[in-house]
Symmetry: C2
Subunit: 240 residues, 2 copies
């Protein structure tokens, strides 16, 4: 799991980041002091301090003299940070989390499709098309992993085509959203067919520059998934 090529600081950042998102350290609760952390993980205080600073920069913790290091309020967390998103996966994403992802993903994907139809270049078309053919191939071979991979690539390519740095930045968000989705796919969406066709239709609209149409395609696809998630939640709540 842990890449050994990471330097000590980054190793500790990931260790603590994961721990916080797993709930080992509670929101508002205290972490061990600098000295103690250094002791526990057997690294110097300076390396420890650097890790603390990095986590502070990501909004996960705050550290003040005499108060020590404490987990910050969740609304301070930089949820769009690649690392933090990754740690969410390591944590315990549930159906509610999946809904949160989908609630944002829906309008983002739709608008991205709209913008892509307006701003995509020939290179973007190539990228999207390649992801698409990979997806088709993977589906024919019934290769779930390859399908997922192509899916991620497709959506990233669309985001890239928007030429909007905010949407491009959301690549990470979409990637993690897809991973969380994957985790629940069996439960909420038994049928994985027709995935390719929906993506192909979206691409066709983008390539023709039909922004409104692309928007509607993306919107309805995401809307369908969101509906499934809502239903799954309703189901699980009625069971309990």
């Amino acid at each position: 799991m842990d890449a050994r090529h990471l330097n000590l600081t980054q190793q500790l950042v990931h260790e603590l980041g994961r721990s916080i998102l797993k709930g080992k350290y509670k929101v508002g609760g205290k972490l061990p002091s600098e000295a103690e952390l250094g002791e526990i993980y057997d690294i110097s205080r300076n390396a420890t301090r650097e890790a603390v600073k990095m986590l502070t920069a990501k909004g996960l913790i705050s550290s003040r003299p005499r108060k020590g290091i404490q987990v910050a309020d969740q609304n301070k967390w930089n949820l769009f940070d690649t690392d933090v998103l990754g740690w969410i996966l390591v944590g315990k994403p549930d159906l509610y989390m999946l809904r949160h992802f989908m609630q944002l993903r829906q309008p983002v994907e739709a608008q991205a499709a709209y913008l892509a139809a307006q701003y995509a270049t020939a290179e973007d078309f190539d990228n999207i098309e390649q992801a698409l053919s990979n997806m088709q191939l993977a589906e024919v071979n019934n290769d779930a992993e390859a399908t997922h991979h192509a899916d991620v690539k497709f959506h990233k390519a669309v985001l890239n085509a928007t030429k909007n740095p905010f949407f491009i930045q959301l690549e990470n968000f979409i990637e993690i959203a897809l991973k969380v989705n994957l985790r629940y796919t069996n439960r909420i969406k038994p049928v994985t067919e027709l995935e390719y066709q929906a993506h192909a239709d979206l691409f066709a609209a983008i390539k023709k520059g039909e922004a409104a149409k692309a928007y509607e395609f993306a919107m309805s696809t995401q809307s369908a998934t969101l509906k499934l998630v809502d239903e799954a939640i309703t189901r699980s709540e009625s069971e309990a």
Copy 2:
């Protein structure tokens, strides 16, 4: 400008962050080495290193042995980080940047309104309503600053009402978007009337739980602004 209560590390973080977003250090270009930075800003190497780590955590720079500290690719920047967003303002946001903001803001606000209509609590209603009355008062008094302040508060209250951490996190994004907007308001939108009414209509829909209606209200408001920005860009491009 610089708050003196910030510690040295944070002061340097802001100094360098602003410099990078102002373009003083170009993307892919090199910053002074750790030792040099310490020399320049007259702080120790440890404090410098901590600042470098924080900026690394925000995706602005990367530092590797022998290569030195260099400005990372823009697509690595954590654009949704509060600090980074703030530094964008200090930089030179132009109409294109405003468009980028609006392109994302539009669907986010619309979806937020939709979700708020579903999930808002009595407390949320109070918060939104209070912002609304502040806005009305400010408009009557022709107090631009107070209007802006109430505007920010209104949109933050709506985002909060979604109960979705991702939307709540986007408070910063919306706040900066509004500030960038404000900077261009005179140029792109000479008439600032009817602001209150649009917000009041949106709140009414949210309070009645009419999600689809709230969505449409927000969408059309944002759409109108985006259109104005698009037109302003077309105008300025035809002039040049």
